[in-house]
């Protein structure tokens, strides 16, 4: 049962073949079984999950009308506030903090009857591409436990990939949903900026952050997308428009006559051969399904990484200032006569990890007087050029595509000493964030050289998220029929008994 899709589980629950409590227990068992190896979760609250499940079962028994995901278990990235549940954003500075409020995403999940199993591991404050920057140790890729699952939402991706949960929530600031989805062989979507409320999403880079869904299929992902999206008056950047019909698009999955644009700048040098090969194969499949493949040029994408690594650190240097040991979280250095200032200094030293400090310092520099125009100011202008490149490209194509990650899952420790090499992991995903548009990664097969999953990235204009699902579903159907099953079924068993 746990290897089923969320859509199948939903049908089984509706038919009474299984209860939500049973389904939740199966997943809790699976977590107990494999999570010691995968370490996807920072916090599992079995009792609370079973209570939520029982409540859904009771509602179902009383004939209450339930949404399609009612009673389905889910793994929540630890970056989202959940009332009364430890929420750390992967940082020691928030160890033990229990929010007195629910993020809007959590409120929507609860309202939909989704059963939250626990909080998943992540790079500290979502800064990283491997989950190695977590203050609580790395998560391991279920495909190969010596490798990273990508990041920063590595815990959520690994949980779904290891069948610990059929669905998960992640957040994507520079690729933090799509890249781990690619590296773990599942589907992940970064919705349009403003489509999912950021209220209660612990901010890394406010103008780039966006929460989004993970699933093992395009349809499952769409179902979760529909639950969490929608206007929220508590987020001033939330878009006040109807949620795109993503579930319907995922069910239709037709690409006949669609123009699919291949971005010239997001392939070639630096892209692993197996990644490129799977990408090209997917393009051929889309062409065979009746899509027209065109090449598009986005020259300013070359500067996207540089712009991102100025904008995100700048915003984070300000967003993370609130972690100061005064109102919540860690407090250290409180010896006799210590001042508030010295306690702040020492707590931030002790509570933040290396990468977080590196980005805070970089951001502080980029915003400081005398450097603002050269760094932050220029980066914001590059952002404008990237938006213009996309605009032009979307006049030539309905969706744009690229490999999600230039490489497959890398070894734990392989890049952790080289920040620049790590930053390059996001080279293909970052332009979407800078432009505020939407993107999906779905499995395109295994790279021949290492037998690890490759992600295929689809990008669509703002609030055209349904296009991702339409194209994704078509490609998925063709690939699944070619492979004789979902790619995830090829993942190693992890020694799990069930």
């Amino acid at each position: 049962m746990i290897k089923n899709t969320a859509a199948q589980m939903s049908a089984s629950l509706a038919k009474g073949e299984i209860t939500s409590v049973e389904l939740t227990k199966l997943h809790l068992d699976r977590i107990a079984d494999v999570d010691p190896k995968v370490k996807a979760f920072l916090h599992v609250d079995g009792e609370s999950a079973l209570n939520q499940a029982a409540a859904v079962d009771a509602d179902r028994a009383s004939g209450k009308k339930l949404g399609p995901l009612a009673g389905i278990p889910l793994a929540l990235k630890d970056v989202l506030a959940q009332q009364g549940v430890p929420t750390t954003a992967g940082s020691k500075i928030l160890q033990g903090w229990k929010p007195p409020y629910d993020s809007t995403v959590v409120a929507k999940l609860k309202a939909a009857g989704v059963v939250i199993l626990g909080k998943t591991n992540m790079d500290e404050f979502a800064m990283g591409s491997s989950t190695e920057n977590s203050g609580y140790g790395p998560t391991f890729n279920p495909w190969d436990l010596t490798r990273t699952p990508g990041g920063s939402s590595g815990g959520s991706a690994a949980a779904v990939s290891a069948f610990e949960a059929p669905l998960a929530i992640g957040s994507d600031t520079g690729g933090s949903i799509r890249q781990p989805a690619a590296l773990t062989g599942i589907v992940g979507v970064r919705p349009t900026y403003g489509a999912v409320s950021r209220y209660g999403l612990i901010a890394y880079s406010s103008s780039l952050d966006q929460a989004g869904p993970f699933g093992r299929t395009v349809l499952d992902t769409a179902m979760l997308h529909e639950v969490i999206a929608g206007h929220d008056p508590r987020d001033a950047t939330s878009i006040n428009a109807p949620v795109p019909a993503v579930v319907a698009a995922a069910k239709s999955g037709d690409v006949k006559g669609l123009k699919i644009g291949v971005i010239k700048q997001l392939q070639g040098d630096g892209y692993q051969s197996g990644v490129q090969a799977r990408f090209n194969e997917s393009l051929e499949i889309l062409a065979s399904l009746g899509a027209e493949i065109v090449q598009v040029d986005c020259p300013s994408f070359e500067y996207a990484l540089a712009a991102y690594y100025l904008i995100a650190p700048s915003e984070c240097s300000s967003n993370l200032a609130r972690f100061d040991a005064m109102r919540y979280g860690l407090r250290t250095g409180e010896s006799d006569g210590a001042s508030a200032e010295s306690v702040m200094n020492s707590t931030r030293e002790a509570g933040f990890g290396r990468e977080v400090k590196r980005r805070i310092i970089l951001g502080t520099y980029a915003l400081s007087s005398g450097y603002y125009d050269a760094y932050y100011g220029s980066a914001q202008k590059i952002r404008t050029l990237i938006i213009e490149d996309y605009k032009k490209a979307f006049t030539q194509a309905d969706v744009l595509v690229s490999p999600t990650s230039p490489i497959t899952a890398f070894k734990i420790g392989e890049k952790s000493e080289d920040p620049i090499a790590m930053y390059l992991a996001d080279v293909a995903t970052i332009p979407v964030n800078l432009a505020g548009i939407c993107g999906m990664s779905l499995p395109a097969g295994l790279a021949e050289e290492d037998n690890l999953p490759v992600g295929f990235q689809i990008m669509a204009p703002a609030m055209q998220d349904q296009r991702l699902y339409q194209v994704g579903a078509a490609l998925e159907a063709a690939l699944v029929s070619k492979w004789g099953g979902h790619l995830i079924s090829k993942a190693p068993a992890l020694g799990g008994a069930k």
Binding site: T237, V343, I420
Partner: protein, 99 residues
Amino acid sequence: MSSLSRDEVAKLAALARIEMSEAELVNLSSQFGSILDAVARVQELNLEGVKATSHPQPMENIFREDVVQPSLTPDQALSGAPAQEEQRFRVPQILGEAE
């Protein structure tokens, strides 16, 4: 080749309120050369006349009505406080003057 001296890193760390050991200062200073080279690419293009984008979606005038909603209870507000006294957050002595 860009660089950031140990003293410049120290100044930034002070601005960002992060205590740093000598080793950390030196280490960050040595890393910053290549990081700054990477990000300084934003200066390669002629950006004259290009508008800066601070918000990815073109939105304006998002306001809320001036209506009071319930606040947290003081217990909730103080629930995460490292120290509290008389329903207030207790913090070590503050050295600087307020703004």
